[in-house]
Symmetry: C2
Subunit: 343 residues, 2 copies
């Protein structure tokens, strides 16, 4: 007896962006899924995560991961519910997380999905307890090596990574200064998340305001944006400063080297004279084996309200391209997720 | 009874260089030294060390160390002999090492000089067993974290630091590729020091030749020059590469940011996508407490001929400015020292 036909709604890469992505780079398709084979499960996507790294996968420049090919489903992590299972490890109704992509359904052999425990919202597995939260935690702890009394600066401070970086640093006893876009986000970062200060990067006096908020200099700059925040941070770095580097959203859309002056020699000189450590990392590649350590630290903090989080939920898979384009411009407020289905 | 008058010959900073230093930036003086006070020793300089970092001290740009003031004696490490001692810890005839500067004599209270053991030549305390050797060793071992089978590249490969970096990396089982200026230095690096290859940075096909010498990419780039060597290295870096950064001789004479394109975003992207660690360090500030570890590793290697070294000895303090200017242009061949006195 054959399975009932499942129509999959999916968003594929239609063309590669030059500079900022546009809606034309994406295409919505409807296709019938094949029958399930032995060992496979049929998944129905509940929440899709939208993250800045996806911009990199849309280009075929050399990167740490293979690009999405033209016509392929856009890559992305998601929480899904098991609709049907021919795999003894999964039951109908189970919630799982995996890189199942921008689509309403997917078929999986069970090897690249993991069950998630009961959570107040399953979307937490895509944010504070998922990839962004672990990126924040591992970069801060392993490369940042925070010490009480030091000063930390983090940009995109209201976002999925920055908000966790700052709150964990507060738990560790640091002075924490956020950078965010606009007064509303800055207020949230100080009033709700408990940062010591938050500077609006749109202010004409941004560099000066950042310096005033860091009277003892900067010991850790958690780098997740690049661009002008980095430029304002460099002169404030203290000797032995550490710079964990997990993202460069400000330059993801760049398609050629900016015109001069060439700031590379100045950076090199700063690294040398101030004995700075800067280190890029990819969380699951570099720290995949430390997920239990992360969860055992973070889950209680979240449960006890010591680490708060905010989600920006968009309804409907068809909204994903616009929401993603907006995120690269800083239009989201909190961890951006798409609610793909309600049941 | 007053001491016999000692005439001190010294070289002071006459003016700050703009770009490359010139002889006019230095001035030779002769002054009478004051009488020794209780606890002091009179030192006669035997060997003066000339090192690239001194270029930084000639400028008053912010740096990790205070600049030499106009009219002050040029800073520098030296081996000296105790001529007279009013300090019970030092005997006439003792050899000591300390930052006593570009001068024929100096007076010291004994707190910033340390005795050196019997060595084949006391100048070794300024090179392979001194600051440059320890810079090579600590940067390679602590930041570079060498593993057998990996590929290391080091520039200024025939110099005081580069030659030690490469030889220690060979002892640790790495493929070692040097970069040096001219065929003679390159032959020395391969034939005498035992590097696997050495590329002449003056070659018009330098970047291509470097790539061919590193068929498995680069795992450690020991950065001590900056400039075009760095540019050729970046595309060859392997994931998880490490870059200890101890010097940037290629840009020491720069007095403004070079014209574009701006290479900083490209570097940031490389650090991120290849998960690279780059870290500046100042050997005595960062690793001063590990000198015994360094000496216990290096002294036997030197004694057994596993780490060879070459000195470029210039005779006479008055030659120091020209020799120093030449070093910044790569004219020296081996660790540059000035023999200030023969007795």
């Amino acid at each position: 007896m054959s399975d009932p036909i499942t129509l999959n709604q999916r968003i594929v890469l239609a063309s590669r962006p030059v500079g900022a992505p546009t809606p034309e780079n994406f295409r919505m398709e409807r296709v019938a899924l094949p029958d399930l084979a032995d060992g496979q499960v049929l998944l129905k996507t509940v929440f899709l995560s939208l993250d800045p790294y996806m911009r990199g996968r849309m280009s075929d420049a050399p990167s740490y991961a293979a690009p999405v090919e033209i016509g392929e489903v856009m890559t992305g992590g998601a929480v899904s519910r098991v609709e049907r299972s021919l795999n003894p490890k999964f039951q109908e109704g189970d919630l799982v997380v995996g890189a199942t992509g921008w689509q309403s359904h997917s078929i999986n052999d069970g090897r690249s999905i993991i069950p998630i425990p009961a959570l107040p919202s399953p979307s937490m597995a895509l944010g504070v307890l998922g990839m962004p939260g672990m990126t924040a935690y591992m970069g801060l702890m392993d490369i940042g090596q925070p010490k009480a009394g030091e000063t930390l600066v983090v940009a995109a401070a209201s976002g999925a990574v920055g908000s966790v970086v700052g709150q964990v640093a507060k738990i560790k006893g640091l002075r924490v200064v956020g950078v965010a876009g606009g007064a509303k986000k800055c207020r949230y970062v100080v009033d709700e998340l408990g940062f010591d200060a938050c500077i609006d990067h749109r202010s004409p006096d941004f560099a000066e305001e950042l310096a005033q908020a860091c009277p003892k200099g900067i010991d850790i700059y958690y780098e997740n944006v690049g661009g002008k925040v980095f430029d304002a941070v460099v002169p404030l770095l203290n000797p032995k400063a550490r710079i964990p580097l997990c993202g460069l959203i400000a330059s993801y859309n760049a398609h050629e080297a900016p015109s001069g002056p060439d700031r590379l020699p100045l950076l090199q000189r700063t690294l040398l004279t101030k004995r700075v450590r800067i280190q890029g990392f990819i969380v699951f590649d570099d720290y995949g084996d430390r997920q239990p350590e992360f969860l055992s630290a973070m889950a209680p903090w979240v449960r006890d309200g010591k680490v708060k989080f905010r989600e920006d939920v968009v309804d409907g898979l068809e909204q994903a391209p616009d929401a993603f384009i907006g995120m690269l411009e800083g239009r989201n407020f909190g961890k951006l997720v798409v609610r793909v289905s309600r049941d």
